[in-house]
Amino acid sequence: MKKLTAFGALSAAAIAIPCQAEVAPTDKILSYRYTNYQEADSPRERTFTAETGRYQIDVQQFGYRTPVGESWYIASELQFESMSGASPTQTYTDADGKSALIMSGASIEEQRVDIKVAPKKYFSGGTAGGLLALSKENDYQSLAFGLDGTLDIFNKHTTLIGSFSVSNDELSPTDAGLSTSRTEADGQKKRSFSVYEGISQVIDKYSTLQAGIGYTQLTGYLSDPYKFEDRRPDSRDQITLSVQHKQFANVLDGAALHSNYRYYYDNWGIASHTLDVRWAQALNLGQFRLIATPLVRYYTQTKADFYTLKQNPADTDLNSSDYRLSSYGAFTVGFNSELKFEKWAFHFDWQQYTSRESFALFGASDDEAPALVNFSTFTAGIDYQF
């Protein structure tokens, strides 16, 4: 073996000098995003009425991030959503053994406003942050509060990450007199409590690995008052295990491969796996810098224990025909892009989501879930840094 020269030893020691603590960002950034979310129509051969159109959401988001003092950074966001269209009310198996889907009719027309403020303090060995979020629509309001922190250890090669958050939501369904479930739900509360612990490790100059475990507890009124025959438990415990790997590559003007896997399990009987792979490619085009990121995601879940396609289940039983509680799988393909020019950054993102019963890898059943949704989202945005 060749002996280590002074040059080799010094180079290694020089690389090992950690740069100083995480530095608070010093730029102010104003941002705007417009997102259109469009669900594909339901299959007419399964819908009970001629109504097949589904949800459409337009989102406008205004963001402002600014440093405060030397070590604080505050991110704030104001978001307006306008939703319209119809949603599935019930799916059941009819007398002929075929699945039938009842849609709500194009009755929904709603607005939602979200406000978020997240201050963060940068220390020499980590960060501490908070989050306050308020969300209001005519039939729902939510207040959330969170704290998070990071701690650098082992010369900053390892970072411990921790966060916790609580939220308190209140339901006030529109036309509460219209159905028993809406009347029941009026004024009901829903609470959540989440904790996450993670560790991020620099493997070498080109790769990092993060692993974490999260737990969320939901309690209160967890049924959907707008659906028929929807009676769910009043608590839900959710556990997630996740691993994220980032590998930088010297391709063209720089690239990174992000691979994420997540396992989820809850006490409603749902287990899911998510695999997400994206390639972020930087390209310098004269005065522009483009970061183009194609992505694919696969998701598969098993159904909830009380998922049922009975048309008239017993009132004493827990039951739901919500397609989100069925067993299914889904593929997402997408393309995100960011084009930087001087102090401006332009964003164009597109995603197509397709879900099917037959895409499920585990616990697939012959039950049809005609309400399973396909949707596409498109985002256009602009950032100004000053």
Binding site: A14, I17, C19, N155
Partner: protein, 294 residues
């Protein structure tokens, strides 16, 4: 693409950034990179009251001082330089300036040097990742031997992280390339002539990496036709006197600078040692003989 130059002074040296690209983005990046250089100077300056280095030195012989990971990383680096130079490079040797006054044109008295030499001994310093303790009340450390080179690397990394692709950082002659010129023709860098430091004895073209020079012409005095420069051997307290200048190319400016200084310190053994390192170099000895593998 046009060139944009940003000049400032730091670490008692004229400093400049030369960059190509869009002016508003470059100007902002220059401010951030300069702030990083100033940060390093403030933290590690021997002269600034309340710098971390001053605190460490004031606590000498009294108590240990808490240090952060960056400081520990630099101490570890200094330790390696100490080992690789068999103790000739020692960050506790800055105290010799009490004996050597290059403006006085007089040599220090031998007994003054003998009083200082016991205070120069890096191996007696107690330190780990979290704290450092100088065992003798009059001991001092300083990072003058590599602080500027380290700052050049950090400044270049700031530029790179901000997406600047074409440019160089020049902190008083310590050069670190941020990225090649837009037309990939390389940056033309002059190497000073030790006899006439204001003119270049040679030029090289750098596309990446760093270049640092250690020379006997930076601070010196000439007494009875003998040249005394500011690079001192830690074991004797006397200046080296074999090389007029040593220029090294390496990926990092910090490493280039240390290899140059270590070669100066190794004197006549420096040539063989330098060849073992397999790095590009240009040396000029005090007789004016050039040797290079560039």
């Amino acid at each position: 693409m046009n060139f944009h130059q940003h000049n400032f002074t730091a670490m008692a040296s004229p400093c400049k950034f030369i960059l190509q690209g869009e002016v508003p983005a470059i100007k902002q990046a220059c401010l951030k990179a300069e702030a990083e250089v100033q940060r390093i100077e403030q933290k590690f300056s021997r002269y600034r009251e309340s710098s971390l280095l001053q605190v460490i030195n004031k606590n000498a012989g009294i108590r240990s001082t808490k240090i952060d990971a960056e400081t520990a990383g630099l101490l570890n680096y200094a330790q390696l330089c100490y080992q690789q130079s068999d103790g000739l490079f020692d960050i506790t040797s800055g105290i010799l300036r009490k004996a050597w006054n290059f403006k006085s044109n007089t040599l220090p008295r031998e007994e003054t040097l003998q009083q200082l030499l016991p205070l120069i001994n890096w191996s007696t310093v107690q330190w780990d990742q979290d704290e450092i303790f100088l065992p003798n009340k009059n001991m001092e450390i300083d990072f003058g031997g590599f602080g500027k080179e380290y700052a050049a690397d950090r400044a270049a990394e700031i530029f790179q992280s901000l997406g600047i692709q074409h440019g160089l950082v020049d902190l008083g002659g310590d050069i670190r390339i941020i990225g090649d010129k837009a037309d990939k023709s390389g940056w033309n860098i002059g190497i000073r002539d030790p006899k006439q430091p204001e003119s270049a004895i040679s030029h090289i073209t750098l596309h990446q990496g760093a270049m640092a020079t250690s020379g006997n012409y930076e601070r010196f005095m000439q007494i009875e036709s003998q040249h005394y420069c500011h690079i001192m051997k830690a074991n004797t307290g006397w200046p080296v006197n074999h090389w007029a200048s040593v220029t090294i190319l390496a990926p990092q400016c910090l490493v280039a600078g240390s290899l140059a200084t270590l070669t100066m310190l190794a004197e006549e053994n420096g040539e063989a040692w330098l060849k073992e390192q397999e790095v590009p170099f240009l040396t000029i000895d005090i007789k004016g003989t050039q040797s290079s593998n560039l």
